[in-house]
Structures are given as C-alpha cells and as structure tokens.
Symmetry: C2
Subunit: 115 residues, 2 copies
C-alpha cells in the first residue's frame, strides 16, 4: 500500500496552526491563557509578556483568527481565553503530522464558542 504525504489541503491547515505558534510571544500568550484557565484582559497579558500593548493586540488577533483563543467584550475591556477545544486538538494535529493515527475526534478544526 502506497503511503504518500498528507494531502495538500490538510497540510495547509495544519501549517496555519503551527504558524500561529511560530512566534515566542504568541507561545507565551497561549501558555499563559492555558495555565490560568480563565479569561484575561489585554492589559493583564501585556503585563505578563513584555512587549507593547499594540503588539500584544496584533498577536491576539492572529491567535483569534485560527481560533486558539476566544474573546468576550466586557465594557471597555476585552477578555481573551483559551479555546478549550484546541487544548486537545492541537497536540492531536501534531501526532497526525508525526505519522501517528488520529485517535478520535477526527474533525478537529477549532470550533468553539462565541466570535
């Protein structure tokens, strides 16, 4: 039986996920939100990773676009939180790329709550 690479469309999708974490600041933001397990305002995040506020904002936008984080507006603040679906899905994607069969939940692409 012929074993080729992942098909292009799947590879493109996985690559987009990895790309979202291809920056140290974004890795820090995601790990922070994951470890805290609660929504955090942009200001709080800025205090934890030491780059400017607008830079953090831009990174959060990138992470939102691939649905690694979700956002809630509360008054004048925006609260970002980890997308629980990704906590399981993302490592599974890593497994698939590394040739391990996907265990369950084949439809991984981060769905999630609001916005």
């Amino acid at each position: 039986m012929e074993k080729g690479p992942l098909e292009r469309s799947a590879a493109t999708e996985y690559a987009a996920w990895f790309k979202a974490l291809a920056d140290p600041t974004r890795v820090q933001i995601v790990s922070l939100l994951a470890r805290q397990g609660r929504p955090m305002s942009v200001g709080e995040i800025v205090d934890a990773v030491h780059v400017g506020q607008s830079t953090v904002s831009a990174h959060l936008k990138v992470l939102s676009e691939v649905r690694f984080v979700l956002v809630d507006q509360h008054g004048t603040s925006r609260f970002y939180r980890i997308n629980a679906a990704c906590v399981g899905c993302f490592p599974t994607a890593a497994d698939v790329v590394m040739g391990r069969p996907a265990p369950i939940t084949p439809t991984c692409p981060p769905e999630g709550g609001d916005r």
Copy 2:
C-alpha cells in the same frame, strides 16, 4: 500560586519547532517521512510533494536544523529520515504549550543520531 506564561527561553525554543512546520510543504515532507518510516532520497521526496528540487532542498535544510529529520549520505544521494525522537517529543511540546504537564522525558529537544 501564580501561574505565568512559559519563560521566554522555552517559548523561543518551542516557537522554533512550530515555525519549522509552519509551511504546508514542510508538513507534507515530515508526514511523508513519518508515514514511510524509511530513509528517502531527495528525488523521491520531490516526486511526492510538487515543488522544485531546490525548494525541497531548502525545506529539508530547515527541517534538519531543528532536527526533525536526519540525513545519511550514500554515494551521490542523500537519504533523509524522520528523527524518531521527535515523533514523541513534538506532540508533547504541543501539550506543554496547551497547559498540560509534560508526562515524561522532560529533556525533549531533539537529540538524535548522526549529523
């Protein structure tokens, strides 16, 4: 107890790994080598992912630098293979970023065979 983000040095290292897979062609190459489980020549890889030979060569260089793949020279050909250490380590790294504790083998940075 205060839970901050991963420290910068760790985040930088993980980011480098993800960056190596932040391109669809590289995802295809890695998945191909992982699924085949045997060393493959550059020519074979070129036949499987449809981009030019020099492009594949460049991608293989990137993947070598982070030790996702290892290489053996045999005469005029170069045989690339997946780094078995990464098959387990990389998904573990994904777990860590997603806030899951690293199960075992804390020293993950791809060590490996030759070159």
